[in-house]
Symmetry: C2
Subunit: 333 residues, 2 copies
């Protein structure tokens, strides 16, 4: 009998197929293979082919020359731009505003042939430090209300360049998905006087069956109402609404945890494409007792079709308990 499960934060229902659950090998899937061999604007020596860097972690060299381990540049074809005025206007019955914002690319390593999961934990942590540094800098522009940090890994997951990178987009409005989490967690807090995410940590530790990895700083699990097979949530144990306020030991451990999860996914699903997204509070807001930052990771294994577009429902062919078991048990070096 299939099961309907409800996301405890935003109230979205999903259908979980409990009979004939799909195993990792049941999906026809893309595999990410780095080919190299073509001109790449993200490789060292080609710094002049990108807009000038806004941040770099380097061992040597001047700005926009080789010697960097990580480099942040404005997107050459940005979805939004920092220049100009933020105008909000009516257009008949409709509403629009100018596309003020920022769109930046984090080049995670100078080595074209490396994947994020190939990097040591401290260099993965550097990617998150770079997110933090850029968020803190961009937040000084008070027109920017929300910053999403994310990664598209593999062409099927939306990556247009092969050289491993992640991105951030700063927006002049708080997007719908963030509002849903803020509203849902606020309602839960008003009702229970507890953070729903803190409660999820306790619940997942009691149940154990959806846990993938646990450390002193993080819990990684397949959410109860996962929309997608092998969807994972990385939740810090320490309550904090703002990712950019993460302390050093937690950030270092975040690098370890993401590396462990990516390697487990790579091994279980044979280098399947994926997306990850940081969910954090709006940058101009103060502390929030009800909201708790986290990372969502979605392997690209299924297609979104009419039913999902029409309802917001998803059909998940792999119960999170089974996905977590595969990921928990797979050995990584």
């Amino acid at each position: 009998m299939p099961e309907l499960r409800k996301d405890p934060v935003i109230g979205r229902w999903v259908i979980v197929a409990t009979d004939r659950a799909k195993r990792p090998t049941d999906f026809s899937r893309d595999h990410v293979v780095v080919r190299g061999g073509r001109f790449c604007p993200f490789c060292p020596g080609n710094e002049s082919k990108t807009p000038p860097e806004v941040l770099a972690y380097r061992q040597s060299g001047a700005a926009n020359t080789p010697g960097w381990n990580l480099r942040v540049i404005p997107n050459k074809f940005p979805a939004l731009r920092v220049e100009g005025e933020l105008n909000r206007v009516g257009d008949g019955m409709y509403d629009r505003m100018t596309g003020i914002g920022a769109h930046e690319v984090i080049i995670e390593t100078p080595d074209h042939m490396q994947l994020l999961s190939d990097l040591p934990e401290s260099r993965i942590a550097d990617v998150f430090w770079a997110f933090r540094d850029r968020v803190l800098d961009l937040a000084r522009d008070h027109r920017l209300r929300y910053i999403i940090c994310f990664k598209n890994h593999g062409e099927a997951a939306g990556a247009s360049l092969e050289h491993t990178h992640s991105q951030l987009i700063a927006l002049p409005v708080v997007p719908k998905r963030a509002l849903e989490e803020l509203d849902g967690s606020k309602k839960y807090y008003d009702f229970k006087e507890r953070c729903v995410y803190c409660d999820m940590i306790r619940q997942e530790e009691d149940d154990q069956k959806r846990i993938v990895v646990q450390t002193d700083h993080f819990i990684v699990f397949c959410p109860y109402a996962s929309r997608f097979p092998f969807e994972c949530c990385i939740l810090p144990r320490q309550h904090s609404a703002h990712f950019e306020q993460t302390d050093g030991p937690t950030m270092q451990n975040f690098g370890w945890v993401v590396r462990a999860l990516l390697r487990k996914l790579d091994k279980t699903l044979e280098h399947t494409p994926y997306n990850f997204m940081l969910h954090t509070a709006p940058v101009q807001e103060g502390p929030m007792p009800h909201y708790h930052w986290h990372m969502e990771l979605i392997p690209k294994l299924t297609r979104v079709a009419g039913f999902e577009w029409g309802t917001g429902f998803h059909i998940n062919p792999t119960p999170p308990e089974e996905a977590a078991k595969f990921l928990r048990e797979v050995g990584i070096p």
Copy 2:
């Protein structure tokens, strides 16, 4: 300068790229080609290979034999099932219920090599009559609260069988996406005492620039805050919350309008895969002055990636005004 536009019903923002707008030929896209030649359970003569039909429009023959023009069958691998009890239970802090519902397939024509857009308007109208008949029948089961009628056309849009068909799924809850439209249109109605969709008809007629096709019964346009290139909305002029209450002349004209739109899309985008979804009121509800049924049609031209998953925002590389112009101007026989 890119533009941010807000959906007037659910409040979702989209980024519309206004410079370097993508034209139809700029998308690398799949083309739907019907190959045939393999065993097909939807073809006449193979009726015994599917679950018994729940509805058929036939010229001759007994149930579950050839002679039909259109046939509705339960999905052999249903997402939800009618049998069993609807149990709502807590699971620690989480909520779940048994997967009660229905999942049916509408085989639109006996001819394996035909597309929906190849059918004459009255046979396309028959597909919508079949939706109506099945919705009216299923709504007698008061456990079922919402019924979504949709089509996945082409493998890239999620179709798993080639023989042209559409589907319906009946759900024991009103899904999030429907609630958002119901809530958003209710807020607008409370504020203005007018239906937001009726206002959109007037606005689009005033502006003209997003209109694709107009008849006495329908207006077809590319929505102001389209998420996707060439996204279209088909809106009936007559205010009604419930698709299943559509009258004969409107239904017949719906067949004509959908045929015209599909042929325009096929010609402009060279048989690109698409999804369509009927948005209608929950089946157990009475008339609603604030809600207005409509059809949403999304050609599959772009990928959903980390930014979209993380924010609910979309980046649309083709302004709806330009998409509508292409579709309006393309000639169809």
